[in-house]
């Protein structure tokens, strides 16, 4: 009770102080909520660096308004994300929310976005259902179904008949398993077994042994990026590659940020994803150069591009509304936006507010002594299949 009262008073004080000074140029505050500490800190680091890279490249005004970025750390805990979102909206007068490293974190904010009519840009989380949780949510990363299906297509076209799926047992993992399986079976493939690994799992040995004993042509894997590196080592150690089992995965497993530290075992892995640091385009070249310079040689990965494009979306939408950041107007402007991102051409689906983009099939190769995801096949302008099917 007392706490609520205090919050109310504080909120009032804030609105008062905000109301008094009149600047020549109005400010639009963008609240970036990310896991900057804890096990998913690398997501927060990459996304925020991507967002900052955009501001550094394109200046800090859009639609005649000054853009102010407020970065907050939720530590990867959903109730924190929600509390911070409320604080940002109520106390700080934030007009746009963005960030969200994991599905549960984005889901927790959906009610806040709906009630306060705050445009919310998901920059990392990848479960398909997120954009259905509120009409004020849009997304600039990608969805698991979106980049699992092309992997299934590729596998069926390249002589892979029998696959074991191995995914982390939570939202995105289940999404990846479901859509890969669907596509692969539709093209005549066989799923020998579907293994789910608990999210907090220390040792992959039993699961990998199970895969080995099923003797498939390939194993399809989704794991959140940090865990992927550990998996890769054990995959090699268990001799699965020698047993003729090919590793195919979503791009999360061969995250560019940590790919180099995985070493030789990663070479030859086939993945599907929306961005690779080595993507060949002038936009990406400029982006990678600026990013590495600003971040002490850290490689930009797909999350950073989600952050970069999230800012691109906010800027473009504000230009379109002439600086009006109110929920309905902003979201109307978001629908159908299109621009050229470092990852290639992207647009926002007017019906689902989700991103439409190219998905690339890549192979891990050694390029100039560095490991890279090298793109070799493109599936153009894919929508999120889950929402496309629901229609």
């Amino acid at each position: 009770m007392l706490k609520g009262l205090l919050l109310g008073v504080a909120g009032l004080a804030m609105t008062l102080t905000n109301a008094v000074p009149v600047f020549a140029q109005e400010v639009v505050k963008v609240g970036l909520i990310l896991p900057m500490t804890g096990p998913f800190a690398s997501t927060g680091r990459q996304v925020s660096a991507g967002a900052k890279a955009f501001i550094a490249a394109k200046g800090d005004t859009a639609g005649g308004k000054k853009i102010e970025l407020i970065i907050r750390d939720d530590g990867g805990v959903a109730d924190q994300t929600r509390r911070i979102a409320q604080e940002l909206v109520v106390n700080e007068g934030t007009k746009v929310l963005a960030g969200f490293g994991l599905t549960p974190l984005a889901m927790a904010v959906a009610p806040v976005a709906t009630q306060a009519k705050i445009p919310t840009v998901v920059m990392a989380a990848g479960t398909a259902a997120i954009t259905k949780a509120s009409p004020f949510i849009t997304r600039t990363s990608g969805t698991l179904p979106q980049y699992s299906v092309p992997v299934g297509t590729w596998a069926s076209q390249n002589g892979i008949k029998k696959v074991v799926t191995l995914v982390s047992d939570y939202g995105p993992g289940v999404d990846a398993e479901k859509w890969f399986t669907k596509e692969f079976k539709a093209k005549g493939g066989e799923i020998a077994e579907a293994v789910r690994i608990p999210l907090q799992n220390p040792d992959f040995a039993p699961f990998l042994q199970r895969v080995r004993d099923a003797k498939p042509d390939a194993v399809f894997v989704f794991l959140p990026s940090g865990v992927g590196s550990l998996f890769m080592k054990q995959f090699a150690d268990r001799g699965l590659a020698d047993a003729g089992i090919k590793l195919i995965a979503t791009g999360d497993v061969t995250d560019d940020d940590i790919l180099n530290s995985m070493g030789k075992p990663a070479i030859g892995t086939i993945t599907g994803h929306f961005y690779a640091t080595s993507h060949d385009s002038p936009e990406n070249k400029a982006y990678v150069e600026a990013f590495e310079k600003a971040n002490n040689k850290m490689r930009p990965n797909f999350m950073s591009v989600g952050g970069y494009d999230g800012m691109a979306l906010i800027y473009n939408a504000l230009e379109k509304t002439k600086g009006d950041a109110s929920g309905p107007a902003f979201m109307e402007a978001v629908k159908g936006l299109s621009w050229t991102s470092p990852r290639g051409p992207v647009s926002i689906d007017p019906e689902t507010r989700d991103i439409i983009q190219n998905i690339y099939i890549r192979e891990v190769k050694e390029v100039n002594g560095q490991l890279h995801n090298v793109e070799f096949q493109t599936f153009s302008a894919l929508k999120d299949p889950e929402k496309a099917e629901a229609k």
Binding site: T37, G38, P39, F40, A41, S42, R45, V195, R196, P198, Q200, N201, P202, D203, A205, P206, F207, Q209, R210, R212, G226, V227, S229, L230, K233, Q234, A236, D237, R238, G239, D257, I258, S261, M262, G263
Partner: protein, 286 residues
């Protein structure tokens, strides 16, 4: 089948090395040290830094991880822990969990939040087939080292003069001091040794369990299961408990993947109902 058993034993051995230091502090010194995992993590990071930044051989990293963690343990014991030996258990828990959080934040600050990877020497990676059983070389290495350590530990505690002094100091601090045993020194050395073992475990575990700043929190529960199932009065108890848990965990996840993660907890509950004081207890406490 045998491969699963082998993997389980290797995993159990690793758990034992990680947890046996905790057995020593908890069981022998009667101190609840939840920060044990932080020492293990220190050992892991020592190895990562030495190998990846300075290119030192993995074999040298193991003793270094032991020594550095042991010294760190000694320093912390002298400066912080010793004041809490007589405090009640709640204070000890609060104090040590505070250390855990500081260690997590510190590791994140200095090393970053990502998974740390080490590249093993080639002779330790890969696997070989022995009579049709696939054996990971590194896991075999782990089993050998841990078995030797377990044996040595048991001998030190039961056969050496230091071991009997330690047991005397634990049983009755006042009488032991009256007999001229320098109890603070014995405790400090024991604590340092226990921390060192954790550091070694962390170094060896980096390859199998991974290493990131949340390591101490992630594995605290496993340490506590090993110690509570094994009981704290012997070394062999936790050893068998760790074996049992390792094999049960790996086999559970292999044969019934859907409920695999629950197997060890179910096992723990059954064990604690049947033998509330651990597998090999000397009867209800002192």
């Amino acid at each position: 089948m045998l491969t699963i058993l082998f993997d389980g034993v290797a995993y159990g051995m690793l758990l034992f090395i990680l947890a046996c230091g905790l057995t020593v502090t908890l069981g022998l010194m009667n101190f609840i040290n939840l920060a044990h995992g932080a020492f293990a993590m220190t050992g892991g990071y020592v190895t990562v830094v030495m190998m990846n930044r300075y290119g030192i051989s993995f074999y040298w990293c193991l003793p270094a991880a032991f020594l550095i963690t042991a010294i760190l343990g000694l320093i912390l014991e002298r400066t912080l822990y010793q004041w809490l030996y007589r405090a009640d258990h709640l204070d000890q828990v609060l104090f040590s969990i505070g250390i855990v959080f500081m260690a997590v934040a510190g590791a994140d600050y200095f090393m970053g939040g990502q998974q740390q990877l080490i590249n093993l020497p080639p002779e330790l990676s890969g696997r070989m087939d022995v009579f049709g059983v696939g054996i990971g070389r590194y896991r075999l290495f782990t089993i050998v080292i841990c078995a030797v350590l377990a044996l040595a530990l048991q001998l030190i505690l039961s056969k050496t003069r230091f071991g009997s002094r330690l047991r005397a100091a634990v049983d009755d601090r006042r009488v032991a001091m009256g007999l001229g045993i320098n109890v603070p020194v014995v405790f400090a050395l024991t604590f340092a040794f226990g921390s060192g073992l954790a550091g070694l475990g962390g170094a060896m575990g980096a390859e199998i369990l991974g290493l990131e700043p949340n390591f101490p929190l992630k594995f605290m529960i496993y340490f506590l299961i090993v110690v509570s199932v094994g009981g704290t009065s012997t070394v062999s108890g936790p050893f068998l408990a760790a074996m049992l848990l390792g094999v049960a965990d790996v086999a559970g996840k292999y044969y019934v993947p859907a409920i695999g993660p629950f197997v060890i907890y179910a096992l723990m509950i059954i064990m604690l109902i049947l033998r509330p004081n651990g597998l090999f207890s000397r009867g209800a406490g002192r």
